[in-house]
Amino acid sequence: MNEMIRSLENKPGLSTVGGIDCDLHPASPSTKTLLPYLEEYWRETFVMRGVDRLSLAMTSSPPRAPINVRSDWKAESGFAGDTLDAVRAQALDPFGTRLAICNVLHGSMIMHSDDMAAALCGAVNEWLAREWLDREPRLRGSIIVSAQNADLAVAEIEKRAADHRFVQVLILAQNDEPLGRRRYWPIYEAAARNKLPLCVHAGGSNRQAPTATGWPSYFVETYVAQASIFESQLLSLVAEGVFHKVPDLKVVFAESGFTWLPSFFWRADKTWRGVRAETPWLTEQPSDIVKRHVRFTIHPVDAPPDRDALARTLEHIDCDDILLFSTDYPHAQFDGLNALPAAFGETLAKKILIDNPLATYPRIAADFKEEVAK
């Protein structure tokens, strides 16, 4: 690895004590693990068809790839984060985490069969509630859905929303169509109605190439291409008018990176001026809409190698509200406990750790208020 980049990642970070970790990954459950949480039809036919022996982990996020398992967090099983004890010992206690949002990445979010996808998403959510949220009060959950069938996704959101430990809806960055398209709007309306931000996490169905120029050969290309997928999705959400149609919607981009935002803002704002009549519902420049509605988890930081350069990038983004703390556990984004680079500075660090997550997640903010009242 480049020595300069290595040295930045090794530098002592700022304290994360008391923070809200907005992107933590319990290991994707095996299909066998999910059987008790499936309805009888699916349970029996999965066993009959041998589906229970399949891994439904996503190839876009292979659970044993080095980037997805930090070596010192890897268990004998080859996975990380596959037990609650491991998550407590590695992801919660050492960082002094107050609350962490569990983003379970599972193949059900991108299956072709609408019904099987919905059944499995429901099982994963139920498994998360029973095996994780019931047992650890510092954990919160994301409701995973398949965006492919909006009606079924809405049904799952409405069913799960009664449990206030679920604090957001989770979909993947790459789907059948750009995320601004109207077929997805019922999902966004259901999320906003239930005070749930929509988390868009890196990864996807690979039904189109992950780059706009075609299929790459290697993971390095796929991983780096995630940032451009997010750029396209961000502009799709803005241009199609999602935030005008659903003004209460908050979107959280997880593992999108954020250091690409300045050039994205400049290009989008400039271009909008020339073609804005095509989307007359956009009455303000795209960057203003993004700053009001969209948040970004900090990892991966994709930082320039020196501290001052990151500070300049933050100046260019020109919005202290936009970043949310994350460890991205157990992915290998930093060494030791250096989850929060010193370049953020103490003042912004507090916003990233606590204030911004509270402003983003109404359900977490309500928990905090209750605690204060006690």
């Binding site: 109207r182 149609k245 001026r273 804005r276 009549a277 095509e278 989307t279 007359p280 519902w281």
Partner: protein, 137 residues
């Protein structure tokens, strides 16, 4: 301030524009539904000639998928990058406070009245019976 005769009214049809030079300045003159307006010709973005831009209405919307065209013929789109300017005020639609061109007062006057001055019609033969566009600079 001086008032300059810049065109005969019948030279500029409704919806059309014309470049005029007044006191060393390039000015884009527009006929909006029979009313005349004058703005600085140079787009503040990269300097294109606004007099060559398309004259358009204002596209508005109450929500995505709904389209409404208002203020027919009251905006000009810069021919290079499409930025829209309000012909009445010179302000750009996207950034009216910071991105704007100077707007000049315009009136229409009979040639007979013009002969009495203090109008300046340096290069312009004025006839008593015609109507003229007068720009104040």
């Amino acid at each position: 301030m001086a008032r300059h005769v810049v065109a005969r009214v019948d030279e500029l049809d409704i919806g059309k524009s014309k470049l005029v030079k007044v006191a060393g300045r390039d000015i884009a003159l527009f006929n909006v539904k029979g009313e005349f307006f004058a703005i600085a010709n140079r787009c503040p973005h990269e300097g294109a000639d606004l007099c060559r831009g398309q004259v358009v209405g204002l596209a508005e919307s109450d929500e995505p998928g709904q389209y409404r065209m208002t203020r027919h013929g009251e905006l000009v789109r810069c021919p290079w990058h499409g930025w829209e300017f309000d012909i009445r005020t010179g302000k750009s639609w996207c950034d009216p406070a910071r991105t704007r061109v100077k707007s000049f007062d315009v009136s229409v006057t009979k040639g007979g009245a013009l002969a009495e001055g203090p109008y300046q019609a340096e290069t312009f033969p004025v006839s008593i019976d015609e109507d003229y566009v007068v720009v104040e600079i």
